[in-house]
């Protein structure tokens, strides 16, 4: 008991002594220097937005495809021509537009000899030479995505054959006009 007390008092005395010394010595030294941060990159622009802008400039310098993907609608007929001159045409079923558009793609559906086929086309792929809007329908079906037309009465026909017929009819009409 006495031992404990004396220990405690001894400790207290020592701590008092330290405190008394501290009153005479300034506790805090010179404040550390804080260096300025590095200049902000991309003028503080969001990294994702900046990269997308750069990539769109690379893959779509004229801005034509960005415009196309924003203006097309499910129900339109488009033709996609690849770099090797092969082409695919079909009616748009759905369009996926991302936040920055680079991952945007168009789902087209057509019938190739009574077999319905679907193709999801990445719009900004450099393998694509151009995408053209061939025909807009007189009246659009409801909804933004036309998944419900699959195997229904509104299903698409052979788009290529339809376009061929249409072209030949147009040629015929122009010929008849000329003869008149």
């Amino acid at each position: 008991m006495f031992g404990l007390l004396s220990k405690r008092t001894g400790f207290r005395a020592a701590s008092v002594a330290v405190q008394s010394v501290r009153t005479f010595v300034p506790l805090k030294g010179a404040k550390p220097t804080v260096f300025e941060p590095l200049p902000k990159k991309r003028n503080g622009e969001n990294a994702m937005a900046y990269l997308h802008k750069q990539l769109l400039k690379k893959h779509d310098p004229t801005g034509q495809r960005t415009n196309l993907i924003n203006t097309l609608r499910a129900g339109d007929i488009i033709r996609v021509t690849y770099m090797d001159r092969s082409d695919v045409s079909g009616r748009i079923i759905a369009i996926k537009r991302g936040q920055y558009n680079l991952g945007g793609n168009i789902l087209i559906r057509t019938k190739v000899g009574r077999i319905a086929s679907e193709l999801r086309i990445p719009v900004f792929n450099p393998n694509i030479r151009f995408i053209e809007l061939v025909e807009k329908p007189k009246q659009y079906l409801p909804r933004n995505k036309h998944y419900y037309v699959r195997e229904s009465s509104n299903d698409v026909n052979d788009v290529e054959a339809y376009l061929k017929n249409k072209r030949s009819e147009e040629v015929k009409q122009t010929q008849t006009h000329k003869t008149k």
Partner: protein, 279 residues
């Protein structure tokens, strides 16, 4: 010939040092130890010491970067092939301090990322380096002191070349307390046939009276995710030093806005000091 009993041990020793001799006592014949040629044994090598461990460790010859995962995008290469890719932001990554083998027992570069001016501590450290206080601090071990990048230097995203492989370490998304089907891919129990309220359970966990306990390491339900994970050998698709953007092929662990540690691929470019000396 001398009788064994008649000669004292001291005499024997002196005799042994000069020439080999055999003492015979009745039928028993003892060969002196000193007659046999002995071999010196090597002292046991302790392989699990810090120093030897450091020599064996597969290390890179330069530090890496800290980045922030910003999300995934579609990437097209020039041949028209499409890949999923991850965008990592590299924001003001600077070298803060060196750790040398003499002082700490290993060689490493302390690197900080993302400047911050509020709620800062460790100000002395940044003052000595001559850089702004950082939000993220970490170390990259390097093989030798030749890999120490000078203090205060900025590490940019273009330290990685396009086409090279990198390893990316991050902390996976936490999934909370998950059951065995989600956590370990168990099949669960049957949907019907009298199974009651146990369709997603694990079933049995072990034997009966023998062994009388569940064996250690048994896969059970528990905390899932939120652990460190490294994605090895990811290809660099794009590295823009000035804009601080790094794009790698494929996905990396962790949510968006999380810090990740990017280094050269250890499997391709990593070497230990021991292997270099051997070659």
């Amino acid at each position: 010939m001398l009788s064994f009993n008649s000669v004292s041990s001291r005499v024997l020793q002196t005799l042994n040092s000069t020439f080999n001799f055999t003492a015979t006592r009745h039928a028993c014949k003892i060969t002196s130890i000193h007659a046999i040629t002995s071999m010196k044994t090597q002292p046991n090598q302790v392989n699990h010491s810090v120093e030897l461990g450091n020599r064996r460790k597969c290390l890179l010859d330069r530090p890496g970067l800290f980045g922030i995962k910003r999300g995934m995008i579609t990437w097209f290469n020039d041949n028209g092939r499409q890949f999923p890719a991850t965008v990592i932001e590299i924001d003001s990554v600077e070298v803060i301090k060196h750790k040398t083998e003499q002082e700490f027992g290993y060689t490493s570069v302390m690197v900080g990322a993302v400047d911050k001016l509020k709620n800062v501590n460790n100000l002395k450290l940044f003052e000595q380096a001559g850089v702004s206080p950082k939000h993220k601090l970490g170390e990259f071990r390097v093989r030798s002191e030749t890999g120490l990048v000078p203090v205060g230097a900025e590490l940019k995203a273009d330290m990685f070349a396009v086409g090279q492989m990198v390893d990316i370490k991050g902390i996976t998304k936490g999934k909370g307390f998950a059951g065995v089907m989600k956590r370990h891919g168990f099949k669960g129990l049957a949907a019907t046939h009298g199974v009651s309220k146990a369709h997603r359970k694990q079933g049995a966990t072990g034997g009966n009276q023998d062994p009388g306990r569940v064996l250690p390491g048994k896969k059970m339900a528990g905390r899932m995710g939120g652990r460190s994970s490294t994605e090895m050998n990811l290809e660099v698709l794009h590295a823009d030093g000035d804009a601080g953007i790094l794009v790698v092929k494929g996905c990396i662990p962790g949510p968006n806005k999380a810090y990740v540690k990017i280094t050269d691929s250890v499997k391709l470019y990593g070497k230990s000091i021991e292997s270099i000396e051997r070659d």
